[in-house]
Symmetry: D2
Subunit: 465 residues, 4 copies
């Protein structure tokens, strides 16, 4: 990498999960629309064919007449090839297949446990973690070996545990996790401004929030817009829409379109705990006891959807079709921003301007009453070659009571996954707030879920199954 | 107080709850059987008549021909009179009446929540805390005003919250909480030594343990007897008796006779978590999710009893009868040790010999992964005018996961009780592992339990009911 | 305060030390040149006449044709009148007179101790602290009583101890300390860029630094400019100018003109410790052992000046003259920025845009290896009604070794000043790195310095003198 | 090792520095006089001849008619042979020769720096550390390789840095450091009891103290004897003997005979800081600024001796003579206790009875305001296979100010020694309170001292010399 007229040239970005649809395309477009950087993206994916298709699509995006910069896209044949010499590494992988995901999400339903996503917490999140952590062990070791100075940006879930694994294996890694759930809540506050105060057109970046918590179970204890404290307004807002839900903020970003909710869970949490929960209702509900997820009817009454794997499969099929059309040039490239911040954070780390944004990194004390080293989500300052968390303050004790069990569970899951320790994994499983089973029932579910994900577990697990 | 020939003379002990049966009598006998101290005990009780009866009984005990020291017993008409000039303060009160306790224990049963004791945790423990904390606020203020240098020994439950309240209100207080549950587990290890190794006659003081946890949910991570590591033996023991339970350690101390268990819960916890749980099964079961307390049949299958309030009322009646007989001289005084250590700890604090014993005090770092200030139970060194906790080490993460929710709940309950904050109290209520209700069910139970204990709540609570 | 078209109106600022020359005028001009805020400034000073003159001067500044906003200036007759209703409080006072300052600076010279400023550390800083802390006790109590929600900005030295006092007396205070020494070092880096790299015109705000340390003994462990790491360049720079000093960065701001140095101390510290010391040489030298301040010749060889009180008196006289001319309208008002950031931080706290700047506040963990609560200087995020420190990281152990003695000394000085404890004050005195005396010599100097400052000490001190 | 009738048999103790005179003989006698343990001692020394002589002397001691146990003594030809299978490891080595020690102690005198011992702190302690740490690196690696479960007892100075090295290299090591300086101060308190209160015959074990600090700069903040607070008595004692010193406690233990002082430094420290300094004056004086060590006359006026290396050489010669006589049987063995506790702590660790004693181990929080991991000296509980520090509490801030510079210096010295970093070592050198030199003078002394110890430094140092 080198600067030329304040423009970063010859930047090398490794994209692990480079066959990804959607995420990868959005990132390619964000790069193309930004005139401050140029270079090469190396796409690595265990599905080489998908990576190859993205190589073509990336090339088309970069060649778009409105593109402000030129990027070359190349498929990397190995992790080593992707990483060697990389300045930045983006990770966005699907750990396992929809078969495993089906088991994660739907197997617990046989025991009366419903999950709206199943990728971060709950029995599904735990199983996904058990198979994802070994992959991140491999990635961390490869980064250590081939590009120890590179910045690593992760988008994969379970976010907290992915980041935790990277630091556990390579403590010197410069990694962080990005998630747009906080953005969604900032957008809700923009909609609220319009609805309650008649203030139209506020951008979500103008909503200034203090972020604290863990990924997908994140909170605001401060929120303002140009000198206006948003808490009293949110209070009125929650009273007004608590029963009906609020649905005027439909998001037409493809990534979120099927995930809309009416924010009833969020408003209920505000009334109970006094903070603004800063993630989608589907995520929030899973971190709580099964108040909102007792059964599908309950979820429906709270007006949020359970994302089925059937839906995911159908969605994937459409994306695959689109992928083929885009690669063949049968569909026009439309240049539009993804709303994600990855490329902006890259620029900040290159020294092209400070950024304050929410990020998932190990706790260095930014949340003093969560354990040091636990991966937390708070604001951070992004600058030339460093990220410094912004002190977020203590979690209020009532919210801490909800959060701490997850933090401890994550630590135990990490240890269980790295050591292939089913007894510790089961103890974490039984501690999950969604799991209200007797030990013998729990054991049965745990066993069948482990079997369902076994294809992606290290061999050491096999003897326990 | 003054020393004369290495004997402490003119010691002044205030006994709050001085009308207590059983506890008070045991303490009086322990004092009488010890030749190193002499002085006055001032009995204070809101039931003055009971205190007066104990004044007579205390006099009879002190006059026993085998008594090694002489103590005078006097009823104090006020807390101020009891405390002024006191060197030591003993607190052993019943917060509320059996009416409130009936509600604590049995009201939740209507919602499918069963409790084996209901005085430390669970819905019952929480309600008991809400009415006990204001009493301890009053005691702490009185100690601060009338005997700030006195050592305060508490026996009242909920232990952790009582101690927490004393330090919250008067941070300079020299208070600690004593509990014999650890002793019971040490005795079990003695019985195990006899059963497994043929070693008879080991005293529980010879069982050296590292104690860590919170009261009634306490653990040993080290246990030895004269250079023998007891963990491998306990492992065999747990395999042998896991199914049938172990019942060869019947305790004939009156205080425990009706509370025997077969230790199946304890053995199950060992198999799951690898540590020796160091409290009676009845207590341990309540701190866990309702695995052992799903319903009365489940508890029975784990072979421990649910202590009903009916039983308590019958027990009290017998003790009242005995109290009258003892006061009238119709029953002989029998001098025998209580097995408690209160008087020994007093001697250690007077400088008459070091003691190492388990104690409940705020965490100064003795358990580094529990929050500072939380009341924890570990070993401590007792010496002339100071108690220094012995470093107990970190709780293993799997046991931490079980413990931390209670620690945070206690902090919230303390705050809720002191500020009369029903919303925070309800949030703690819903966080209790025994409470697996939907919010609206929880609300109904909470409301009826608050009403059931309202007679002993500060007026400020009234408007919330 | 209220917003009108994104402009803050009716802002109320209390200025304690409102008769100040220089500082106050700069602040008045900064306000006038900023179009985003308007309101009233209440000038409070024990020298009422000076405040009155500044009332007139402030009026003239506000009436300047180029002023972008209108501020009214009023003299307040009491602290209470100044503070009641204030949104912001600025503190910029001279604790004591030049008589005391003469003793602070010059009395130690009789014992071979030379100081270049004598207001932050060393015997002079300590004595100044002893008389300043009681004044800040009074201010803290007044803020608590009259405007507990106001933001308090301090410019007075000794900075760390002033801020520490405010928080010690009123823990809920929203106070912070601003200092321009860091700015000066950023400007030096700009000059270096020109000198070494031919990059002209860089603004000091463009120099991105990670700031850590305590006021006037502050360090950068990261520094960059538009993606260029400045450390290798500073390394070359230090080799080049170590012997001669670097003098091409003459600062023509009146506030600094007499304070120029050649940065030899700074370059020496870099060579020894590897970090960029971020304060003027005159300040840095005083925090070290007397390597640079052994005697006036040594200081001269390091090419920095000892600020004498004679100079200060002459400087004051000139300013007083100017003050009279300005008040009488005999001298034109020139509108120009002061280079200070106070007004910008006020805007950020009003919600008019985020700021990242260095600030002195209690350590919440931003420097994990300095004690919590110690007042440290790091970057912080300034936002609508809150300041959140940016995590600065641990001080390297070699620099920690230099810093920690001052941190502990400050704690002891604070305690000694609040409790009027001469024995503790003397123990801090003897611990100062500049004081290399035997106890009996130290005692003699301490005594004569206490006498020299006694006019401004609380009566309780008197009996110790 | 195995128990037989509560007696530990077949214990294996490795003695590193097994050719030592004095220390080794005392330990051998302590073992012989104790009937609870038996086994083998393997003597390892780089001076094989000395080890062989001690093998014979050990045999004679064990064969003494009054010996209560039989131990076999064998010379080990390598560290590996000594350690393999060891249950306990004793380290008592002389790092380097008297040639190096002469440089440590006397070279600084050329620069006006006087040291009374020169083995723990000051320029001498630092140099000794630089050559000792590599030896302890080797020992730690050997323990890890050959007997990772063994308990390691160190007697070598600089104590704190030796223990620190062991844990730095092998974090799982079970090591601790024993020092009798605290015992000496407890004996002084016994003498005081006789002198002030007419209480004769108190044993030093009966003096109950709370110990806090670092080795050779240790303090009591609590001290009692059978319920008597010793602080008011020590206050009177210090007033009485401050001027003349107290000399009625002559110690006739050979190990201390030449080291007597009159405790004037100790009494002066009490008057200044309010705590009882708990080490010999010769040690205490070195940790302070050169108040007591300005020059030999000053030391004499404080009535403590500077231990010259001439004296040490003469002392060694006598011991060597004695060693030959003992080995040849020309001198009778006299069985008498050494006053050390090593053998008692071994018994406690075997499970033969709890011990509370002062010990040097890494800070786990026993002194909350010293950094975690720093080696501190406090009380600890010794029990079957574990040592748990007793919470000692915070150091008062005035004493903390004296202690913290040494703690930070030790960390830097450890790092410098392990990394062979002369620049960091020099920065620690200049930070030592005894070193009041300008950098260029310091450099000259540092250089000549490094040369003086170079024979025992790793090769990597060579290129820096």
């Amino acid at each position: 990498m080198a600067f030329e007229n304040k423009r970063a040239r010859s930047l090398r970005i490794a994209y692990i999960g480079g066959g990804s649809r959607g995420w990868a395309w959005g990132f390619m477009k964000d790069l193309a629309m930004d005139g401050d950087m140029e270079g090469e993206v190396r796409l690595y994916d265990i599905d080489q064919e998908a990576a190859k298709r993205n190589e073509i699509i990336g090339g088309r995006i970069s060649a778009h007449p409105n593109a402000l910069s030129r990027w070359s896209y190349n498929t990397a044949s190995s992790l080593k090839n992707a990483l060697t010499g990389a300045d930045f590494v983006v990770i966005s992988i699907l750990p396992g297949t929809f078969k495993e995901m089906r088991c994660d999400v739907h197997e617990p339903e046989k025991f009366g446990i419903y999950q709206s996503v199943g990728d971060s917490t709950g029995p599904g999140g735990l199983m996904r973690a058990l198979r994802t952590i070994p992959m991140f062990v491999e990635i961390a070791e490869a980064v250590k070996a081939f590009c120890p100075e590179a910045w690593v940006i992760n988008y994969t879930n379970p976010m907290s545990l992915c980041i935790n694994t990277l630091y556990e294996i390579f403590p010197g890694i410069k990694a962080f996790g990005c998630c747009h759930e906080v953005f969604g809540t900032q957008k809700l506050l923009c909609s609220m401004l319009a609805d309650q105060c008649g203030i139209e057109g506020a951008g979500r970046e103008q909503i200034k929030t203090n972020v604290l918590g863990i990924n997908h179970f994140t909170w605001f204890d401060k929120a303002s817009f140009e000198g206006i404290d948003l808490f009293p307004i949110y209070h009125e807002f929650s009273e007004k829409y608590y029963n009906t839900g609020f649905t005027k903020d439909k998001d037409d970003n493809w990534m979120n379109s099927s995930f809309n909710s009416s924010h009833r869970v969020k408003l209920d949490l505000f009334r109970r705990y006094g903070l603004i929960a800063a993630a989608g209702d589907r995520h929030l509900a899973e971190f709580m006891p099964p108040w909102y997820l007792k059964d599908p009817e309950t979820a429906q009454s709270w007006k949020f959807g359970l994302t089925t794997v059937d839906w995911r499969e159908k969605d994937l099929e459409e994306k695959l079709d689109r992928s083929r059309r885009l690669a063949k040039g049968e569909e026009e490239i439309e240049l539009s921003g993804s709303g994600e911040e990855g490329h902006l954070l890259i620029k900040a780390l290159l020294g092209l301007g400070d950024m304050i944004s929410n990020v998932n990194i190990p706790n260095l004390g930014q949340i003093p009453n969560l354990p040091l080293g636990a991966v937390v989500e708070t604001n951070a300052l992004f600058r030339y070659d460093y990220i410094a968390p912004v002190f977020a303050g203590e979690m209020p004790d009532n919210v801490l009571a909800l959060t701490m069990p997850h933090v401890i569970n994550q630590k135990n899951i990490l240890k269980a996954a790295i050591n292939c320790d089913p007894s510790l994994a089961f103890s974490a499983f039984m501690n999950d707030p969604l799991v209200k089973l007797l030990p013998e029932e729990g054991k049965a579910l745990f066993k069948s879920m482990i079997e369902g994900t076994a294809a992606f577990l290290p061999d050491k697990w096999k003897r326990h199954i």
